[in-house]
């Protein structure tokens, strides 16, 4: 069910576990699905110069990011026989321990679902104009770097 126009992937704040559960439940009606692959990014309380990360504040060049996500989505649907694919990325503040990225792919068989999910996560990290500002204890901060 690939859509032909950009879809909003951004959610203000953290992605709730119950939202993920509900999203999974909605796929019970599609009995052509045999496997789902899900990736979740969670904010780590890394220590930076002796101070723990308490949250990440995400900003994005939203319009460009949605257009780029649309291209990624089209490319992945063209490459893998998926039944569906859902992507959500947080904007604003996400506290340590909370979910900031939710990528969910489904297919008749496990391999396309798994490969598409992994490729989508890699492309999101590399290609979406999104920035994370790691908020440290005591008002300090540092701009996140993806490795």
């Amino acid at each position: 069910m690939s859509e032909r126009k950009p879809k909003n992937i951004f959610k203000q704040g953290a992605i709730d576990a119950s939202f993920i559960g509900d999203s999974i439940a909605k796929h019970a009606s599609n009995t052509r699905i045999g496997g789902h692959s899900i990736f979740l990014g969670q904010v780590r309380a890394d220590e930076i110069n002796g101070k723990a990360v308490v949250a990440i504040e995400y900003t994005a060049y939203e319009e460009m990011a949605l257009q780029k996500m649309f291209e990624i989505r089209e490319a992945i649907f063209a490459k893998y026989p998926l039944t569906c694919m859902h992507v959500y990325h947080s904007l604003g503040t996400v506290k340590a321990g909370e979910i900031c990225l939710f990528v969910f792919t489904s297919s008749a068989h496990r391999k396309p679902a798994i490969d598409a999910c992994t490729e989508c996560v890699e492309r999101i990290k590399a290609e979406l104009p999104v920035w994370g500002k790691e908020i440290l204890e005591g008002e300090d901060y540092q701009w996140k770097q993806n490795i």
Binding site: T59, L128, V130
Partner: protein, 75 residues
């Protein structure tokens, strides 16, 4: 022209939206910005024009949407 500024570059330029005189192309823009903000030299960034990342010098027509993008760190 208006320049959109993102990520750590908002710290350097102290704004997320910079008003700037019209300029012929992206190389000239980059050079002018580095002169005005020497601290920019310590930051790697790409320029997007009309939401397309550009990799070589590009002519800027009036009304183009120009953005300065430091390395992405989503996810």
């Amino acid at each position: 022209m208006e320049i959109l500024v993102f990520g750590q570059l908002t710290d350097v330029l102290q704004t997320s939206r910079l008003s700037w005189p019209e300029v012929a192309d992206t190389d000239t823009l980059r050079q002018q910005l580095l002169e005005a903000y020497p601290a920019l030299a310590q930051h790697s960034f790409l320029v997007a024009v009309n939401q397309q990342m550009i990799s070589s010098n590009t002519t800027l027509v009036p009304g183009a949407e120009v953005a300065l993008l430091p390395p992405f760190s989503g996810g």
